[in-house]
């Protein structure tokens, strides 16, 4: 774990809005126990974007769900703790989580096509959040809705408010989703692959928008498998595989001097336009096998210790 030290040096001094310590989560289903997270540690500071990078099935989304209290019922947190905005939320129930959601933490989901209710007007959906958390109604809601949509650089916001989701393009819908997530200025916003479902040109606009909004002082946990996004947008990053954090640090440090073989392999497999002639190398199967073996060995040790 020596590579973890670099992370804390690089992260700015501000108090973290999200601090996850040694989090272990396992899924118990039909009598089988499957470890999902094996000691995840990371922190997100205010005004910073922290990237959580890894391949599919590595536990990225599970971390995002844990940090928002959306873990499925079959998932059990066995060890570790989650501190959100100075509150230990590790064993909170749904009712207590509800007091935080929207206000302290919110989330931008991957697919804007399904993240909005298809049969309700945009304005009505946005009004729900404003009423719930700020008690706004009537003309105040309309004004605030307009302000939010202008903030996400929506063209013709007054008309968008009267429209249904299917009348908007994917990029416009993602802007609405982002506007709703930012509506009550939560301390932490989790973006779960916010650009994966969008066109490349729209991706860039959405990323720029997120970058601009972070200026307001929120911490962002950016869950992604796209190292290009990380390089352009994020301040610090953690690499996750098999539910373990393999490496953490500032983006410059990790990109310049990756410590872990898996990070090096990921970087080698990513197109780099700043280095012409850079050949892409697929991640070595042997490395993945080795990582899986390490994870199994870790589980055995845990079982013995327990």
């Amino acid at each position: 774990m020596s590579d973890m030290k670099g992370a804390h040096g690089a992260v700015p001094v501000a108090a973290p809005v999200l601090q996850i310590d040694n989090l272990h989560v396992e899924v118990r289903q039909a009598g089988r126990v499957t470890p999902i997270l094996r000691g995840v540690t990371l922190s997100v500071s205010a005004g910073r974007i922290h990237a959580l990078v890894g391949e599919s099935g590595g536990g990225k989304s599970m971390v995002a769900k844990a940090a928002t209290g959306l873990l499925p019922e079959s998932a059990v947190t066995t060890r570790g703790r989650i501190v959100l905005d100075s509150q230990d939320v590790t064993s909170w129930n749904e009712r207590r989580w509800r007091t935080l959601r929207g206000r302290t933490v919110s989330m931008v989901l991957q697919d804007p096509l399904t993240a909005l209710n298809p049969v309700r007007r945009i304005g009505a959906q946005m009004a729900d959040v404003l009423y719930l958390h700020q008690g706004l109604r009537g003309a105040a809601v309309d004004a605030e809705n307009l302000r939010l949509l202008e903030q996400v650089q929506m063209r013709d916001p007054a008309q968008v408010l009267r429209q249904y989701p299917h009348q908007l393009s994917g990029g416009m819908r993602q802007r609405v989703v982002i506007a709703m997530a930012w509506a009550c200025r939560p301390r932490l916003i989790i973006c779960d692959e916010p650009t994966t479902a969008l066109d490349v040109t729209v991706q860039k606009q959405v990323l720029r928008l997120i970058h601009k909004l972070v200026g307001e002082g929120q911490g962002v946990l950016m869950v992604t498998h796209d190292l290009g996004v990380v390089a352009k947008l994020c301040h610090s990053m953690s690499v996750i595989h098999g539910g373990r954090i393999l490496e953490s640090g500032s983006v410059q440090d990790v990109f310049a001097q990756p410590q872990h073989a898996y990070t090096r392999a990921l970087l080698a497999a990513t197109p780099r336009f700043d280095r012409p002639g850079h050949t892409l190398v697929p991640v070595d199967d042997g490395l993945i096998e080795q990582l899986d073996a390490e994870a199994r060995a870790y589980d055995r040790c845990q079982a013995v210790l327990a």
Partner: protein, 292 residues
């Protein structure tokens, strides 16, 4: 833009032959039911034993007919009552049962279905097993037993239909609620801090509503048939009130000498049920976001 979307829906509905035909049948029924006292040519209960078993004047007017005597367009029954008037008044009962029973059935069934689908777990287990057990009874038999226990009458019939048929709504609404709940917009709503009941009422319900409209229309047809069955076996209203089922039941006795006594109310019932089904089917095609 939004206004245009709505007019488009109306235009689409008016272009759909099922909706138009079904809608016209229903409209016709409503007009008959509401305007019965003015539309009906005679008092449905007025007996005229001399004029009993008169064949429908629409088909054949006897050459020796008295031009001053009242015309019975659809003939008269064994007591000389005007069949047309009885059928028009029967529409009132049919429509009343259809609307009230279908609405109550939808209310009970979809409430339980929504709770089962949304909360899952134990709530779902209890409600779903209840539905399974309920559905293992033959529905018509259950209705007959129920009415014979709680007594006859219009409200007993409606209660019987609700008690027998709520499972239909429960199953469909439960499945649809489950499907909607798995979608991202519900997760989004949870993430914004909306309470479960709020999500159910303002996020999921509008998405289930089109399906519900369709089901209610179909259920109205079922309610009409069940009421007729109960009338036929004499478990609905007293024979003093005209109902289609009661007319079919009484007409059965004279089917050899006056077939219209049975055939006409049957035709009325078939038209009503076909009309409702066509309307329901048409609405489903137009409102269902998947088909659309």
């Amino acid at each position: 833009m939004a206004g245009r979307a709505e007019t488009r829906l109306w235009q689409r509905l008016l272009r759909n032959p099922r909706v138009v035909v079904g809608g016209l049948v229903c409209l016709f029924m409503v007009v008959l039911a509401l305007g019965a006292p003015w539309i009906a040519p005679a008092d449905p209960q007025a007996q005229d034993l001399i004029a009993s078993f008169e064949s429908p004047a629409l088909l054949s007017t006897p050459a020796d007919a008295d031009p001053d005597a009242p015309r019975h367009w659809l003939g008269t029954d064994n007591l000389g009552r005007d069949v047309a008037s009885r059928m028009i008044y029967g529409t009132r009962i049919a429509l009343l049962v259809a609307v009230v029973a279908a609405t109550l059935t939808a209310l009970v069934g979809s409430l339980l279905g929504a709770l089962a689908g949304f909360y899952g777990g134990k709530v779902d287990a209890v409600i779903s097993r209840l539905v399974d057990v309920w559905m293992s009874f033959p529905p018509v038999l259950l209705a007959i037993v129920l009415v014979s226990v709680i007594g006859t009458g219009l409200w007993s019939v409606i209660a019987a239909i609700v008690i027998v048929d709520w499972t239909r709504f429960c199953r469909v609404v439960r499945a649809e609620t489950q499907a909607q709940k798995a979608l991202d917009y519900v997760t989004s709503a949870r993430m914004l801090g909306l309470s479960p009941l709020r999500i159910l009422a303002s996020e999921i319900f509008p998405n289930v509503a089109p399906l519900l409209i369709t089901l209610v229309t179909l259920e109205m047809g079922v309610a009409i048939v069940v009421e007729a069955i109960l009338s036929f076996v004499g478990l609905s209203l007293a024979s003093g009130t005209s109902t289609w089922g009661g007319m079919i039941g009484e007409g059965r006795l004279y089917v050899n000498q006056a077939p219209w006594l049975m055939v006409l109310p049957m035709l009325a019932m078939m038209t009503a049920v076909l009309g409702l089904n066509a309307l329901g089917d048409g609405l489903r095609r137009e409102l269902d976001p998947v088909v659309r």
